[in-house]
């Protein structure tokens, strides 16, 4: 692995980076020197320190010479030789001696061109912002090269980190992407954050995600780059604002503030949309999978959300719902009753069969599968067994089309279209481990309660749009789903001219993923989740769509430990966010 970097300096120069411990350095330098000599290009200067540094992995004390120091040494050498020749150069002003010494006329012209090349940039004189090349600023060039075994190469290990002054923190380290129009500036302060185990900021998260797509080299683009859309972390901040939530139907000021963010991309063509989210000093990741599925026409009555009151539902229903809003939502029985269709309300709530307080005999008979599932889960709680059994039985009944099962179907999750209101979302958030599952037949009664079931989703094979959250602290984020789902619909209306009411809903899934063992690594975990989703989406979806059992948790812990090793070894190398 030999890389030859041409770095723009005042003089043309070549930097050769060799793997650590290479003994071929001097031989290679000789060869290059000989080649340059054959090209009639005189070698005026060989950076001995650089050669020494090459063989010793950039020690911390290595400070590459900048032009001024080099010129000063040249001057010293000149004076030394002058004295020896008996011609002390005392009349010469230092400025005359400075960098131009020893340069050919050609090189002088080149240098002048360099200085005059960009008149706007050369006028810049800010202490806090000065674009420098790495070579001149004393920073070892940042190398991203991975060794063949996939381990980061060792020469990027930094020395213990000294503190940075405010001005230094703001100093530009590099703009990224390297080979396209730069989109973010990574500063020394950002590098310091990584080195000192500080929280990651929005720039680093954006760099980490963009790095997954663009890589380091001009031709190194992720194979899925065209099928993935990245938002930055401010996108969710913008759409999650509470401002202007009470607005007429179809008006949402937060959407207008991000309407032009997607002017160059049709997100409904993408397979994955990545939305990093920052809330209360915590990073988590939301991924929209298969966004085009929301364009399918909804078969049942439109969503009722708080800001979208409509009259398509029976008056009695909407009255009940309003009543529900005034009521205590934590009362499951009451909510259940409310969500039942009006004609079912004749039956007292206590008589209805519900999974958590009574068991349908049919379901008990049919419980074998549920038992297996529950024992697979390794969960000895009888409640779980019953719940699994009931879900299973209900789904069979609906398959058989048993009309007497209709009543119980009303409670079943498998047929129910999701009813998403802010209040219901809040209610669901009470139970963090629960998940909403809904697919299949949507032709049932317009309003049904969605059961909170602990069962697996079928993300890969379902023909629906999924919004998944990946949180390394293991919290569900239904609110994120609500906002992103609403944004998807507004986006479809704005860009594709669809009616919001006709669009399908996106499903929510809380992915169970390795958890962070400390309070500072969630940003790195976020980038890692995104990397896994981009690199092998199918495998990842198969992994996360299964509710983890206890055994899986053990595995996850093991994986987490392995990941931690990887990340901590990576963490010392600020540029290796892979």
């Amino acid at each position: 692995m030999i890389r030859v970097n041409i770095i723009q300096c005042a003089e043309p120069s070549i930097l050769i980076v060799l793997p650590s411990g290479s003994t071929e350095a001097s031989a290679l330098i000789d060869a290059v020197g000989a080649h340059l000599r054959t090209m009639n290009e005189p070698i005026r200067y060989i950076d001995k320190f650089a050669v020494a540094a090459l063989s010793s992995n950039y020690p911390a004390e290595y400070k590459p010479d900048d032009t001024r120091a080099r010129a000063a040494r040249e001057k010293e050498r000149q004076q030394h030789s002058g004295k020896r020749n008996g011609e002390p150069s005392r009349n010469r002003r230092p400025s005359d001696v400075l960098p131009d010494i020893g340069l050919t006329k050609e090189a002088k012209i080149r240098k002048k061109e360099k200085v005059d090349g960009d008149p706007t940039q050369s006028k810049l004189n800010f202490d806090s912002f000065r674009r420098r090349s790495h070579r001149l600023s004393g920073v070892p060039p940042v190398e991203y090269e991975m060794l063949d075994n996939g381990q980061p190469s060792s020469h990027a290990v930094p020395a213990p980190v000294p503190g940075l002054s405010a001005a230094e923190r703001n100093e530009l380290l590099f703009p990224y992407p390297f080979f396209l129009r730069p989109e973010i500036n990574v500063t020394k302060g950002d590098r310091y954050r990584v080195q000192s185990n500080d929280f990651l900021n929005d720039t680093l998260i954006e760099f980490g995600l963009k790095h997954l797509l663009y890589g380091n080299a001009a031709n190194e683009r992720h194979s899925n780059a065209d099928r993935v859309h990245l938002f930055n972390s401010f996108f969710f901040t913008k759409i999650a604002t509470r401002k202007g939530l009470v607005m007429p139907k179809g008006v949402w000021p937060a959407y207008d503030s991000v309407r032009r963010w997607t002017r160059n991309a049709n997100i409904f063509d993408k397979e994955l949309v990545v939305v990093p989210i920052n809330e209360s000093y915590h990073w988590y990741l939301a991924i929209i999978y298969n966004p085009k599925a929301i364009l399918k026409e909804r078969k049942t009555t439109p969503l009722r959300t708080e800001e979208q009151e409509d009259d398509s539902l029976p008056a009695g229903e909407s009255e009940t719902l309003k009543q529900a809003r005034r009521h205590n939502y934590h009362d499951d029985t009451y909510l259940d009753e409310l969500m039942m269709p009006a004609n079912d309300k004749a039956i007292p709530a206590g008589d209805r069969l519900r999974s958590d307080d009574s068991i349908d005999p049919l379901d008990v008979i049919d419980q074998t599968d549920g038992d297996i599932r529950a024992s697979l889960r390794g969960d000895s709680e009888s409640e779980v067994e019953i719940e699994a059994g009931v879900s299973n039985g209900v789904s069979r009944m609906s398959l058989d089309g048993d009309p007497s099962g209709e009543l119980y179907n009303a409670d079943a999750s498998f047929d129910a279209p999701p009813l998403i209101t802010d209040t219901l979302t809040m209610f669901r958030q009470q139970d963090q481990r629960s998940v909403s599952v809904s697919d299949g037949d949507r032709s049932g009664s317009p309003v049904k309660k969605q059961k909170l079931a602990r069962s697996d989703a079928d993300i890969l094979d379902s023909d629906q749009c999924w919004i998944m959250t990946f949180d390394s602290l293991g919290t569900a984020h239904k609110a994120a789903h609500t906002h992103i789902d609403r944004w998807l619909k507004f986006e479809a209306r704005d860009k594709l001219g669809k009616e919001i009411d006709t669009l399908s809903d996106a499903q929510y899934w809380e992915a169970t993923v390795p958890q962070q063992p400390n309070f500072s690594d969630c940003g790195l975990y976020l980038v890692h989740y995104a990397k896994q989703m981009l690199d092998r989406p199918e495998e990842m979806l198969r992994f996360i769509q299964v509710r983890t059992t206890r055994e899986c948790h053990l595995q996850a812990d093991l994986y987490s430990a392995a990941l931690l090793c990887r990340i901590t070894s990576t963490r010392n190398k600020p540029t290796m966010l892979s």
Partner: protein
């Protein structure tokens, strides 16, 4: 001075396009209008700047005006970060027009 703070209006509506006369003037002098919209209250601050003025100048002036550190602020144009070193010309903006940049507060988390 390349960039010039001309007015500051508390949350009033600033049109995407300046008035015709103003646009002509700006175009004649090869300048454009930049509006920075503050994140928390939507307050808009207008700048007139040349096509070749790096945005760092505007950002520093803006930060100074609102007594914040430019390091903690982010400036987004249509969802993309506006880099300190870039200029309207590099963004392929046109003279005589008005552009709105969103100000956001830098985020961090762990």
């Amino acid at each position: 001075m390349d960039s010039q703070l001309i007015s500051s209006s508390g949350g009033t509506k600033v049109d995407e396009l300046p008035s015709e006369d103003e646009a002509e003037d700006l175009k004649a002098s090869n300048k454009l209008k930049l509006v920075i919209q503050r994140t928390n209250d939507g307050e808009k601050t207008e700048f007139i700047l040349k096509m070749t003025t790096p945005f760092i100048k505007v950002f520093e002036a803006w930060s100074k005006r609102f007594h914040v550190s430019p390091r903690t602020q982010r400036f987004l144009f249509q969802g993309e970060k506006v880099l300190d070193q870039s200029t309207p010309k590099m963004m392929e903006w046109k003279a005589g027009r008005s552009y709105v940049i969103d100000n956001m507060i830098g985020q961090e988390g762990g």
